[in-house]
């Protein structure tokens, strides 16, 4: 039986209009004109951005949105003294004496469940962090912290065992307080799998909504945030491990922002896109060619080739670092002086690393007895060829490309470099076992120069100083820098200068990250020490809202 005509007509008109109802959520009422949503494409999703169980940079970055520190670094990223920090959980601080700092918490600070943030939370978290086995790295950084005590519900007293200029930095930067009333009943061993860790309650500008591992992590704005409610109501992180996939997500409009466009050759594709804007964010990373000064097979014996500082200097002189950096990074990289990141406050913009000087490099090698005996282009001394293995992780595309440039430049002075690209875990293991000639290392440093101690002091030989470098002069300068009463800057700079002169490594590049962000966002601020920490300040330019901005969470 055929349907009556009027039914057919209604159906033809009515059905298509039902489709939007089936596929879209209802239109928003009254979302403010400068509010919006942001979708950020990241390489690895933060699955556990909870203090005391954080592993890895991606978790640390995201945890800043949920958990505030007592204070944050100011724009110059200075870590010394008491003055150049910006209040967060602590609204002010005073110094009682050279060993004691007193913080007054902001009484407006609240946990996401409404409970006020108190000194008990701070004390508890420090105690938890310093428990043995919990966080050895932070415990090491806080080794001069003698005690953290409550003095009333809003006041915390930090006592140190030694006087040094970075006391405030150590007190505020490394530890983000946890809510004691929710966490203190959970033993640390079960914390990572606890329901708190699956759905953290913090005090920051954003609240946790949901995590779908391998896919997305969603936060929603905390409207009661005491430092000002965020204007971006929804923050969604989406995971795409492959850099091309990340780029495609942002070029196609699925994602609004991308951290680190790689490689540099892809930047024009983003720049050409009219809805995207590029931002340069200098990093705290320094990469260098680390020389192994001890023999690979027996650490008590010096390395047959690299123990000689003249040879190391010759290698440094043979390299045209500026060209190598320009080739791999374009303008998104700089040649560091010593192991000092671009943003470090001890960086001296007036000194330059050694420029390439192949003539002098050749002369130096000749002076140490290295000659090309059989005209095959490779220098030899006492039957031993000047051949070195350069280990690098194949997962690092910049290092892979730069290693080829390095190999070719060193070939010009008669040094044979064998490129040993290794799988991540194997490379790590070879490095820790001191089984390398030259290791292409890359280290992300803290804003504080005190981190230099681990990799460049004699004390660090049993730990991360895998190259075997030890110069007591540098050690004493580093210690002096940490404990300097007055201006520590000249001391630090002298330490770095000595490091450059000793050539334990050739410091080769400090990258600048290229962020892609949709143009409609205003007040965009990406903090180098915590990229997304300032998302609470972003907003959407009125009149440029997209559909996704107008849909309420």
């Amino acid at each position: 039986m055929r349907a009556p005509l009027w039914l057919v007509r209604v159906g033809l008109v009515g059905l298509p209009s039902l489709v939007p109802l089936l596929t879209r959520s209802p239109q928003a009422q009254g979302v403010p004109a400068d509010h919006g949503t942001i979708v950020i494409a990241v390489g690895t999703l933060a699955t556990l951005p909870v203090p005391t169980v954080i592993t890895g940079r991606w978790n640390q970055d995201v945890s800043d949105l949920l958990f505030l520190k007592l204070a944050r670094l100011g724009p110059e990223l200075a870590t010394g003294g008491d003055k150049r920090f910006i209040p967060q959980l602590a609204k002010s601080w005073t110094r009682r004496d050279s060993l004691t700092l007193v913080f007054d918490l902001d009484p407006r600070a609240r946990w996401h469940d409404g409970t006020p943030v108190t000194s008990r939370d701070v004390v508890f978290t420090f105690r938890r962090t310093l428990e043995p086995g919990v966080d050895p790295q932070r415990a090491l950084l806080l080794r001069y912290l003698a005690s953290v005590t409550e003095e009333g519900p809003q006041r915390v007293v930090f006592r140190f065992s030694r006087a040094y200029s970075e006391q405030l930095y150590d007190a505020v930067y490394h530890v983000q307080p946890l809510p004691a009333h929710l966490v203190d009943s959970i033993p640390y061993s079960r914390f990572a799998t606890s329901s708190f860790a699956q759905h953290p309650i913090g005090n920051g500008p954003y609240r946790w909504v949901a995590l779908v591992p391998g896919q997305r992590l969603e936060f929603t704005a905390n409207p009661d945030f005491f430092l000002g409610a965020p204007k971006l109501d929804r923050v969604v992180f989406i995971e795409a491990r492959d850099p091309e996939a990340q780029l495609n997500l942002v070029l196609s409009g699925t994602a609004d922002a991308l951290e680190n466009v790689v490689p540099v050759t892809n930047i024009p594709r983003v720049a050409d896109n009219p809805s995207l804007r590029m931002l340069q964010v200098p990093s705290f990373t320094v990469s260098y060619l680390l020389f192994n000064q001890r023999s690979r097979s027996d650490r008590s014996v010096p390395h047959p080739i690299l123990a000689d500082s003249v040879v190391r200097l010759a290698i440094a002189l043979a390299l045209d670092r500026a060209t190598l950096v320009k080739n791999v990074f374009g303008v998104y990289g700089a040649v560091p002086y010593g192991p000092v990141p671009i943003l470090s406050w001890i960086r001296d913009p007036k000194v330059n690393p050694l420029a390439q000087d192949t003539a002098r490099a050749r002369a130096l090698l000749r002076s140490r007895g290295w000659v090309d005996a059989n005209s095959d282009g490779i220098l030899v001394r006492n039957g031993v060829p000047l051949s070195l293995d350069l280990n690098y992780p194949v997962t690092s595309a910049p290092r892979k490309q730069m290693a080829l440039g390095i190999q070719e430049q060193l070939r010009q002075i008669g040094v044979k470099v064998e490129l040993v690209g290794m799988e991540g875990a194997a490379w790590n293991e070879a490095r820790n076992r001191h089984d390398f000639d030259i290791d292409f290392s890359s280290v992300g440093l803290d804003p504080s120069p005190a981190g230099l101690i681990q990799s460049w002091s004699c004390e660090g030989l049993s730990g991360t100083n895998v190259g075997g470098y030890c110069d007591p002069k540098v050690d004493s300068l580093l210690i002096q820098g940490i404990f300097a009463r007055k201006d520590a800057l000249p001391t630090w700079r002298r330490a770095v200068q000595q490091l450059e002169q000793d050539v334990p490594a050739v410091f080769i590049y400090a990258p600048i990250y290229a962020f892609a962000v949709h143009r409609r966002y205003a007040n965009v601020n990406i903090r180098p020490e915590g990229w997304w920490a300032a998302l609470g300040e972003w907003s959407v330019t009125p009149g440029q809202q997209l559909e996704r901005d107008r849909t309420p969470p």
Partner: protein, 274 residues
């Protein structure tokens, strides 16, 4: 066998094409600049094809044409030899298992199952533990020895099917020796899927070898290989397509040539011609 292939027009074209590729691989390097040379890292990188560089330059200002030609030696030897090894092993095992059946079949096929169950990556990681740097010959053997499992199952399936055909029964009834049955009746037919699989494997192996360099196992730079060039060119696919297009083209041409030869071999081996 080759004579049979030559007689087919497709086969002739394929063999000639292969011959050309091999000759270019052997003789070409003498006429081309050093593939490792990086003349100008700042202004000479990623130049499009032009007069000075017929195939353009890569990220390190190296001449792509020179690298493609120099890389032919490695890629061709790896591809052709490893695949030949896989094909031979697969055929052998598959035929023995299929024809003799019983316990032989069960044991061999369960070994193949077990081998298929272990990801290739595992085995390769082991090799890292054992060798610091694998020589090319060992690499070819490894690739060949880990690539025959699927082929053996394909061959076995064909043998199972053919074993029961009437003409085999007739041959047996006529008192033919087992070896003769295998060689004259079963092998030519069983070869068909092997040829298909091997043709496809040629392109595969080149990329697998390149993938090995991501484990630090493959050919060491600066020695070029087509697969490595393609993997390196991945990030410049849209900004500098020539870096990957030319080695990719080289692979495609090789695969086409092998395919033509394979097809003609299959036609030549058609039992209705023998």
């Amino acid at each position: 066998m080759l004579k049979g292939a030559w007689e087919q027009p497709g086969g002739r074209r394929g063999l000639l094409l292969l011959a050309v590729i091999v000759i270019v691989a052997l003789v070409g390097p003498a006429f081309l600049p050093d593939p490792a040379s990086q003349p100008d890292l700042i202004h000479g990188a990623l130049l499009p094809p032009g007069l000075g560089h017929l195939f353009g330059t890569d990220q390190l200002s190296r001449d792509v044409l020179s690298r493609v030609v120099h890389g032919a030696r490695i890629s061709l030897s790896v591809a052709l030899l490893a695949v030949a090894l896989s094909a031979t092993l697969g055929c052998l095992v598959g035929m023995v298992a299929g024809y003799f059946g019983g316990w032989t079949d069960a044991v061999l096929m369960r070994l193949v199952d077990g081998a298929l169950a272990i990801p290739r990556l595992f085995i390769l990681l082991l090799l890292i533990a054992v060798w610091d740097h694998i020589p090319l010959a060992a690499l070819i053997v490894v690739l060949g020895a880990t690539g025959w499992f699927g082929t053996s199952r394909l061959v076995r399936a064909e043998v199972l099917r053919l074993r029961e055909q009437e003409y085999v029964g007739a041959a047996v009834a006529l008192g033919a020796q087992r070896r003769r049955i295998i060689l004259r009746h079963l092998l030519p037919n069983a070869l068909a899927p092997v040829l298909v699989a091997s043709t496809l494997a040629v392109g595969d192996v080149i990329l697998i070898e390149a993938g090995l360099s991501f484990l630090g196992l493959g050919i060491r730079p600066p020695t070029p290989s087509w697969g490595a060039m393609i993997l390196d060119a991945r990030s410049t696919l849209f900004t500098a397509p020539w870096t990957g297009a030319f080695p990719g083209l080289a692979i495609v041409i090789t695969v086409v040539a092998v395919n033509l030869v394979g097809e003609s071999l299959r036609d030549a081996l058609d039992p209705r011609r023998l």
